[in-house]
Amino acid sequence: MFKTPVISEAGDRALVVEVGDSIDPETNGRVRSLMLAVEGMDVPGISDLVPSYRSLLITYDPIRTDHDALVKIVTLADSNLDTAQIDSPKVVTLPTLYGGERGPDIGYVAEHAGISVSEVIDLHSCVDYRVYMIGFAPGFPYLGGLSEKLATPRLSTPRVRIPAGSVGIAESQTGVYPSASPGGWQLIGRTPVPLFEPDRQPPSMVVAGDYIKFSTIDTEAEYKAIQAAVAEGDYQPEVSPAEPEVPVPGDA
């Protein structure tokens, strides 16, 4: 992580604030904190904030503010992070039915790892995965923390349609498809809980810096019961605060 953020121009309507140059939870936590701190300052002219692994993109209306003013704001926000009131990240638990029709590639993943299917499930469902970034498609989380044992190459021929809620593995990444799409990930299970709904506020359950945890659904009947509750609007996913994160610069 950098001692102070490196701020650079990204056209006449955006600036990039880099807080580090590696993928790690501390750097990503600082991106999240900085985003919330800047948001909390309610700066006129900021049109959007886009957090990613190690940087924050701030887009703005140059008629209402300018690069220099925003550099001051960001510097101020960053220097006050240690004392700022910033909500802890959250852990959202996604009940998941592993294997079978819902996770057709789990056998291959087990074979590739040289372990049993139930070991795959245990290894995959025991981790709080950090959401480093949302991208690729609305609500698609880039998760960090997959057990190295479970790393599996993508399918040699991508599927034309992967159902929404599919939980997959691609190399050392794991993730959830928030909506149906083509894709080449190895599918190991499916969650009936929608990660992204355009009409919900906010539309995505998680944002960069939050965590996703998978809990096991044992039967198809249980999966269908949750699915029905979701459809009725009666399902509340389990959400808990993550361990507190103190965002401090690497060598402060």
Binding site: Y53, M133, F136
Partner: protein, 371 residues
């Protein structure tokens, strides 16, 4: 009350509902979308007395055939798609009345790529995440998240009679009259210029690129001299602003446009300035692009000139103009333009600003209320 405004007889090549875009949701992976040429959309709205960010139709290459279901005021801006009303060619960049039952047709692409049709009050589709813009890939916004098709009926929002102006027009000498086939596009360095060799920067600003057939609302793919990276094309994925020139490993630049994903993993050598991104959106496959390097300060001046044109269309709008636009107008002086003198009203006085449009310096006359 909203009302049935337009019946789609034929959809044209690609006609979608767009406004100025969907902001605040990129952190959830939702693209901004919105008009590819925001100046033209905003001008279309101001001409008919709408809020600048009202929803319009973005019509691409071959416009639709539409029947108006109400008497209304419309304007067409942006590309020349040879639009006629009841068989008679109409001018762009001005408000005009159309009668109930009138039929709009498009003869095809004469100049530019994308035209905008505004109707009095604006198009009424449900707002999704704060915007009416269509994002086709995820079927978000617009009319059911998709381009228009035959048989669709679009509703209009009620118009504000106090904002209603007949025959308002952009002065002819201010129109972006001709887009042509050779486009000079200004860009600022960054955000990942250091990922490229010094030679790559020289190449970018000294060469001509041509617009590839694969260009769309997500990105403009360019073909031309190869741009070399220092170590590689991949970066740790980060946020994409509007208009970055990203370069994948094949060395061919792609300018990211309205429907770009909010994040991306290729190094970005430079970023097209906001006034020129809309002009790039009017470039067609096969057109020539050359890039000019400018500073953010120069980009801001260009933007203020453009805003001055927009705000000069409506004295009421000018009275609410952001301070920076007013300051820019006050700082400039020049001879009043004869084109506008006739419309001068007793309680208004004119000010003149210099504007650069398509490389030509012109006087922009604006009216402000007397003290």
């Amino acid at each position: 009350m909203n009302h049935k405004a337009i019946e789609v007889l034929e959809p044209g090549l690609l006609t979608t509902v767009q406004d100025t875009g969907r902001y605040g949701f990129q952190r959830f992976g939702v693209p901004v979308s919105g008009a590819m040429d925001p100046f033209s959309l905003r001008a279309a709205n101001v001409l008919v007395g709408n809020d600048q960010d009202s929803a319009c139709l973005e019509m691409t290459v071959v416009g639709p055939r539409l029947r108006f279901l109400q008497d209304t005021l419309i304007s067409i801006t942006g590309a020349d798609l040879a639009v006629s009303i009841d068989g008679e060619r109409v001018h762009r960049w001005q408000a005009m009345h159309v009668a109930k039952g009138s039929v709009l047709t498009s003869g095809g692409m004469m100049d530019g790529m994308r035209a905008y049709l505004a109707i009095d009050g604006g198009i009424d589709v449900p707002q999704v995440m704060g915007s009416r813009s269509t994002y086709m890939t995820s079927r978000i916004g617009g009319l059911k998240g998709r381009p228009l098709k035959s048989g669709d009926v679009l509703s209009g929002l009620p118009s504000d009679p106090s904002h209603r102006h007949d025959e308002r027009a952009l002065p002819e000498d201010l129109e972006p009259v001709h887009y042509g086939h050779s486009h000079v596009i200004r860009a600022v360095m960054g955000p990942q210029t250091a990922a490229f060799t010094p030679g790559a920067l020289e190449t970018l600003f000294d060469s001509r690129y041509s617009v590839s057939n694969d260009s769309d609302r997500v990105g403009y793919r360019l073909e031309g001299p190869h741009l070399s990276h220092v170590t590689g094309a991949d970066i740790i994925s980060d946020g994409s602003p509007a208009g970055p020139i990203q370069v994948p490993a094949d060395g061919m630049p792609i300018v990211l446009m309205a429907d770009r994903g909010p994040t991306g993993g290729y190094a970005k050598i430079a970023t097209v300035i906001s006034t020129d991104l809309g002009r790039l959106a009017q470039a067609r496959p096969g057109d020539t692009i050359s890039f000019n390097q400018v500073s953010v300060a120069q980009a801001n001046s260009a933007l203020l000139e453009q805003e001055a044109i927009l705000y000069s269309l409506d004295p009421e709008l000018l009275s609410r103009a952001p301070e920076a636009v007013v300051r820019a107008l006050q700082a400039s002086d020049g001879a009043p333009s004869p084109a506008l003198r006739e419309t001068e009203l007793p309680h208004l006085e004119t000010r003149v600003a210099q504007a650069t449009i398509e490389g030509q310096t012109v006087a922009v006359e604006i009216m402000i209320e007397r003290d």
